[in-house]
Amino acid sequence: MDLQLSPDQIFMRDEARRLLAERSGSEQLRRAIGAGGFDAALWSTIGGELAWCAVAVPEEAGGLGLGAPELALLAEECGRRLAPVPFWSSACLAAPLVAALGAGEAGAALLGRIAAGEAAACAWPGIGGADPLCGTIPVARRAGGGWTVSATIAAVLDASSAAFFLVPASADGGLGLFAVERPAAAVEPLEGIDLMRPAARLVLDGAAASRIDSAGFSARDFDDALMTARLAEAAEQVGAAQGALDLTLAYVAERVQFGRTIASFQAVKHRCAALLVEISEARSLVHGAARSLDPLEVAAAGVLATQALFRAAEEAIQLHGGVGNTWEYDPHLYLRRAQATAAVFGSTDEKLAIIADALLGDAA
């Protein structure tokens, strides 16, 4: 009944925290900016050696068979350091999609690749909400014994580092899930607002694809299969909010004005304390929602986590003063993450509407 983390979970989280403190600090982030927002060495440690992406992959497919709570813990630590690796895209978005919708050998093979640290990205226009500007629904056609997929997707997160793409597409009048290997796709990197999670325009022009679901699925099934990704996004935001607070606490403890550290001013203390409460609230909801995967709780976690991250990033800039407005200091990296994630899977308004509709009936 309680929400206590098990010793194994605490160990996993603390090891992740330690590793990322060492490998995803400010200097490394700066280097990653020059490398398109991707740290290949860190990814090979996380995805390869440490097999973080295997965590929630079923055991039969070569994974550890754990679940959303563990993914959320790792996502939170990645968020805290803005780790420039496609952990969320691969482990939290692609893997659960394949696990839920994929079938047979094809599905198991893809899961095995993700578990082994191959990066996957999800090419689906709707991740940014139902905004038509994000692109059109991809179309799959039968070709010989197999399939081809055609689509132009305005922004695919973590596309540049992906070894393959998962593409939900209309097929035979329904929806199917397809995998397209990287060489078959045209990837055009975009200058994104989030420097640590790059996006690219993806063009598939009759690209060879393999189908991994067995007999199609409904839009609703697809949406359900995204629940872990939604949850993990909120977890990452909570982590990023904590990261912004960490930065702020370190800065205010050093900076002296009026002959005292600015941390000694009550206005500053209270703002940091209120942030801690807000982050804790969002974190509690993430932990609870990770157990239930209840759509309303997941939506609520997204609302609270988005708000906590925004507030933490804004306070970080404010409490850093002038230097908070420079490229050189890190607070803006968090503000960028806040803005870039604010509308993933829908805006706060839309998430609140999901909850309101359930509590109050559909809006008239």
């Binding site: 009944m1 309680d2 206590q4 205010v252 801690l276 509690s284 909801l285 609870g288 809006a363």
Partner: protein, 394 residues
């Protein structure tokens, strides 16, 4: 017994007993309504005791049932779900009892615990004074030893003493050592309220009711054996008692919050407020906050919360009290114009009480500002507040 069977047992008992002469108590006596139907609520406490539903978390050797946390949570939840009235026995059961179990001597445990458990004696808390609120350590009420009897004679004034006018006893934090300052030299006393040296004057609150009082002591007598710990121990004991306050009652409290939110939803659906986008968003936000509190409580109530959770739990009071205050406004906004005038609909009265009383949530038990100081200093390791030149250390 399985937890679900236990849940059914509590629910069954409540359904069978919160009826007949106790029916008027349904949903009464909660914060903002704390002075309602006092005699019947005292009878209800005795009824609860007969049913074995008081002090269920106290250890068996002290007359409790030693029930594990999970069962206590279920009891709190089902009690609230059934519309159980505000517990007049709360201060005795939840605050003084645990303090005596931890620090009292055998004689005190024998004399006081059974009366609390059986709903025979009710307690009030005497900490705050007119000049010592947030800065509790600067209290001035004096306790002097009467050389003949060894009793303590208390002079001074406490204020905001909730339910003192309905209580038999009060525990008092006083200055036992002449000339001492700050947290030193304090003494923790247990005093009978019905004696000549005590005067209790109700204070009217913003919502119109009177749940708290000004309590004056003029040579009020405390028996020699009725101090907890030794003179000078008062601060340590007073603080430990506050530690018991942030316990299990949180989950019962949340069940009450959930019912308040349900009521707001019910009214919004009836009166059309539920069609307004801003109201919909606020209701959804309130729901999200409530779920967050529930999961926070579930993290805190683990047997051995890890350090991160202990740190976060410093923020829990700030979290719930602000949430509740927002809910108070939401309720009135859902009522709209009709909430401004008295109504025959008891639900309106309920939301009006909520509106006013939730203003106190961010004040009692450590104000918002004090909570933020505590979080910043103890949780985040930020510098402590400087004290003024009067310089009493705290």
């Amino acid at each position: 017994m399985s937890i679900e069977a236990f849940r059914a047992e509590v629910a069954g008992w409540m359904a069978a007993n919160l009826t007949g002469r106790f029916a008027p108590l349904f949903d009464r006596g909660h914060a903002g309504d704390g002075d309602a139907l006092p005699e019947l609520r005292k009878d209800w406490e005795r009824k609860l005791a007969e049913g074995g539903w008081t002090c269920i978390g106290w250890p068996r050797e002290h007359g409790g049932r030693g029930l594990p946390v999970a069962e206590q949570v279920v009891f709190q939840e089902e009690y609230a779900r059934a519309g159980g009235p505000g517990r007049l026995g709360h201060i005795g059961e939840g605050l003084l009892g645990p303090t005596l179990i931890a620090f009292g001597d055998d004689d005190q445990k024998r004399r006081f615990l059974p009366a609390i458990r059986e709903g025979r004696e009710f307690w009030a808390q005497g900490y705050s004074e007119p000049d010592a609120g947030s800065d509790l350590a600067s209290i001035r009420t004096r306790a002097r030893r009467d050389p003949e009897s060894g009793d303590w004679l208390v002079t001074g004034q406490k204020v905001w003493t909730s339910l003192a006018h309905l209580s038999d006893w009060i525990f008092v934090l006083a200055r036992g050592e002449e000339g001492s300052i700050g947290p030193k030299g304090l003494i923790f006393l247990m005093m009978r309220l019905d004696q000549p040296g005590v005067e209790i004057r109700p204070i009217r609150q913003i919502g119109g009711g009177s749940e708290f009082n000004a309590t004056f002591f003029d040579g009020a007598r405390v028996k020699a054996g009725d101090i907890v710990g030794v003179p000078g121990d008062g601060w340590r004991i007073a603080m430990a008692l506050l530690g018991f306050e942030r316990g299990l009652s949180t989950l019962g409290q949340q069940m009450g919050f959930a019912r308040e939110l349900d009521l707001i939803i019910e009214i919004a659906t009836e009166n059309g407020a539920a069609a307004r986008p801003a109201i919909r968003a606020r209701i959804a936000r309130a729901w999200a906050g409530l779920r967050a509190m529930r999961h926070m409580a579930m993290r805190m109530l683990a047997d051995h919360p890890e350090p991160q959770v202990q740190l976060e739990s410093l923020g829990y009071k700030y979290q719930w009290s602000n949430w509740h205050r927002d809910l108070g406004r939401l309720g009135m906004d859902v009522l709209g114009f009709s909430g401004a005038a008295a109504s025959a609909d008891p639900r309106v009265e309920k939301l009006r009480r909520l509106f006013f009383f939730t203003r106190a949530d961010t004040v009692y038990g450590g104000t918002n500002e004090i909570q933020l100081n505590i979080i910043a200093e103890r949780g985040l390791g930020m510098p402590r507040e400087p004290r003024g030149p009067s310089g009493k250390g705290a």
